[in-house]
């Protein structure tokens, strides 16, 4: 055996450190949760109002039939790619440094997917008839139309949500078992159920590792397909500047870009709040920073390819949209977006010294996410605002109700995440231990 005794000796400390967030709660946490709950309540109120009075409470109007809700939908799906990408792709490539990051990112995936689903409901004109989308025959023996990209979307997101829930749950089983043995009260019962009789036998370990090995490549494939299909929603449409082949891969990369940015924020905040400096080290920020640099370049390349094609092709329908972005009604958000997601990350992340600076990386992550949100809006709104019949050209800006719902939903995501942190160890304990075991001694 090549075990280093230190890992084994450290185990009680690791257990203590990583279960601490579950066991100790400060008043600031309650304050934080309270504030978020108020925002969520405001959002819920706004949505109720919108359902009662009509979807017209948004600023949507023809020909701009989609707006901030769909943009948010795309955005949150993008955020959900953080977990799958980091834990999936990095697991596949055996990147050891992933370990402290995976759980936190996967948790983001699940929360983001829940939120994503909400945006579909916000968006529906008759949300009380949402069940028409469920595949079962209606009274007239009619099923949903699977030729619609929206049904592809529904299928893909259902698959993705199911798969990523499974994917976060499986590695959690040993940690649930750990928590089951150390936490008392009502949570113990829940952990007992969730740990499904885990006792750390080699048979269980083998099954678990095998399952993770099988599911990991599958979920990476699902992840790529999901955001491709979200891209297809736009690419399949005849709308000028949507009808483009690059949308599927572009959406996937964009999703990873914003997802990594979001992980950067989460990593920084959790490390700070729960003093996880021993586990989340500068090294992790640096690695993520490098990845972010890669996605920045990749996304910029794709965006350039897309816009160049439009510019050179000079098809009037498409060029009208491009003009509105470059120097028309949407120029200000467009150039702001370009700075946020391409220029600033590029100019900062290329410096190795910068990548050693967690605060800076967190800020870049934040900027990228603000930029990516605007980018989602700019993908959706300007093309819709410039239909081929120029008589119908128009503009759009989200209404107050939309803002309240968007903020409320953001608060909901943060709230769910904050609550989850109290229930789920944000760093996978056994994987961390395993990582330490494999790690060369400093």
């Amino acid at each position: 055996m090549t075990d280093r005794p230190t890992v084994w000796e450290e185990m009680p400390k690791i257990n203590r450190d990583l279960l601490a967030p579950l066991q100790t709660t400060t008043w600031t946490y309650f304050l934080w949760v309270g504030v978020l709950s108020c925002l969520v309540a405001a959002g819920a109120g706004a949505w109720t109002f919108q359902i009662q009075t009509g979807i017209g409470q948004t600023d949507l109007h023809h020909p701009i039939f989609w707006g901030s809700y769909i943009a948010s939908f795309v955005f949150w799906i993008g955020v959900s790619h953080s977990g799958t990408f980091i834990s999936g792709v990095l697991r596949l490539t055996n990147a050891e440094w992933r370990r402290p990051v995976t759980r936190l990112a996967e948790l983001m995936t699940v929360v983001a997917l829940l939120v994503t689903a909400l945006f579909v409901f916000y968006h529906l004109g008759r949300v009380w008839r949402f069940y028409y989308l469920i595949p079962y025959p209606n009274q007239r023996e009619l099923w949903p139309n699977f030729r619609s990209p929206l049904m592809w979307d529904a299928t893909a997101i259902f698959t993705y949500a199911t798969a990523s829930t499974i994917y976060i749950y499986l590695p959690l089983i040993p940690d649930f078992a750990l928590a089951r043995d150390r936490i008392h009260g009502w949570r113990k019962t829940v952990y007992r159920w969730l740990a499904i009789g885990w006792h750390g036998s080699q048979a269980q370990w083998r099954t678990l590792e095998m399952a993770i090995r099988i599911i990991t490549p599958l979920i990476v494939m699902v992840m790529i397909s999901v955001h491709s299909i979200v891209g297809f929603d736009f690419g399949m449409a005849l709308v000028p500047a949507w009808h483009s082949t690059i949308f599927a891969p572009y959406f996937v990369v964009g999703a990873v870009h914003s997802g990594l940015g979001m992980v950067m924020i989460g990593l920084y905040v959790l490390r700070k709040v729960y003093h996880l400096h021993n586990y989340v080290r500068t090294e992790h920020f640096e690695k993520l920073g490098k990845l972010l640099l890669v996605t920045t370049l990749l996304l910029a390349y794709m965006y350039f390819a897309e816009q160049l094609t439009v510019w050179y092709g000079k098809v009037p329908d498409h060029i009208a949209v491009q003009h509105s972005l470059l120097y028309g009604a949407y120029a200000v958000p467009f150039w702001f977006m370009v700075s946020c997601i391409y220029v600033i990350p590029l100019l900062t992340l290329v410096w190795p010294r910068f990548r050693q600076w967690p605060v800076g990386l967190m800020i870049v992550g934040l900027i990228i996410n603000i930029g990516m949100y605007i980018e989602r809006m700019l993908i959706i709104v300007p093309p819709l605002a410039h239909p081929r019949l120029s008589f119908q050209w128009d503009e759009y800006f989200p209404s107050l109700i939309e803002f309240v719902i968007l903020v409320g939903t953001l608060a909901l995501a943060l709230l769910l995440y904050s609550l989850a942190v109290k229930f789920v160890p944000v760093i996978s304990i056994w994987e961390e231990k395993l990582g330490k075991k494999h790690a060369p001694k400093r």
């Binding site: 084994w8 000796e9 099923w143 750390g200 080699q202 599958l218 231990k433």
Partner: protein, 182 residues
């Protein structure tokens, strides 16, 4: 230890070892006591790299995954092609059965079923397969390796195994008695 004469009892011997202890010699000694591998189990806070026990695998998990995937493809074909044929409405000049659509939907349902089946199988495996009847012991996660041996209702054997483990360097040894049908 409470004894109940009405039900059959099982004894489980559980020994805790320091992780540095070399376990194969201990296992051999136990095997010499006439206890097959399937009654032994090693508990650890981490997956151990080498399989020390020789236990048969009933169904490989990946096979279930593939079966799930195939079922999923069937579901996808039913959704994308079957439901369209049941009520063949023309939309936008697209064929009633559109091959790319069938492909996309089948891909997603294939993934869904494959992952779901894998998960269910895993969960069943973890929850029910080869239960030693023991609850997890918190001490394992604190950094020791556990070795549990089921000895049935043979109390004498339990004590001899217990001694054997102590001699082999176990830091602690327990004998637990479990009502087998409880």
């Amino acid at each position: 230890m409470p004894q109940n004469a009405d039900t059959a009892e099982r004894h489980v011997v559980l020994g805790f070892f320091d992780p540095t202890t070399s376990l194969p010699p201990v296992l051999d000694q136990i095997r010499n006591q006439g206890i097959p591998d399937i009654f032994m189990e090693i508990l650890s806070p981490l997956p151990l790299e080498t399989a020390l026990l020789n236990k048969p695998v009933r169904i490989p998990l990946y096979r279930l995954t593939i079966i799930g995937g195939i079922v999923g493809i069937g579901v996808g074909i039913f959704f994308a092609a079957g439901t369209a044929l049941l009520f063949p409405l023309v939309t936008g000049g697209k064929p009633i059965v559109s091959i790319p659509v069938v492909g996309i939907i089948s891909y997603e349902t294939m993934m869904l079923m494959a992952i779901a089946v894998t998960f269910v199988a895993t969960a069943i495996n973890i929850a029910f397969v080869q239960q030693s009847g023991l609850r997890n012991d918190p001490r394992i996660d604190e950094g020791s390796v556990g070795l549990s041996i089921q000895v049935g209702n043979d109390t004498a054997k339990a004590h001899s195994i217990s001694r054997l483990l102590q001699q082999a360097g176990a830091s602690e040894v327990e004998i637990r008695t479990i009502a087998s049908d409880s």
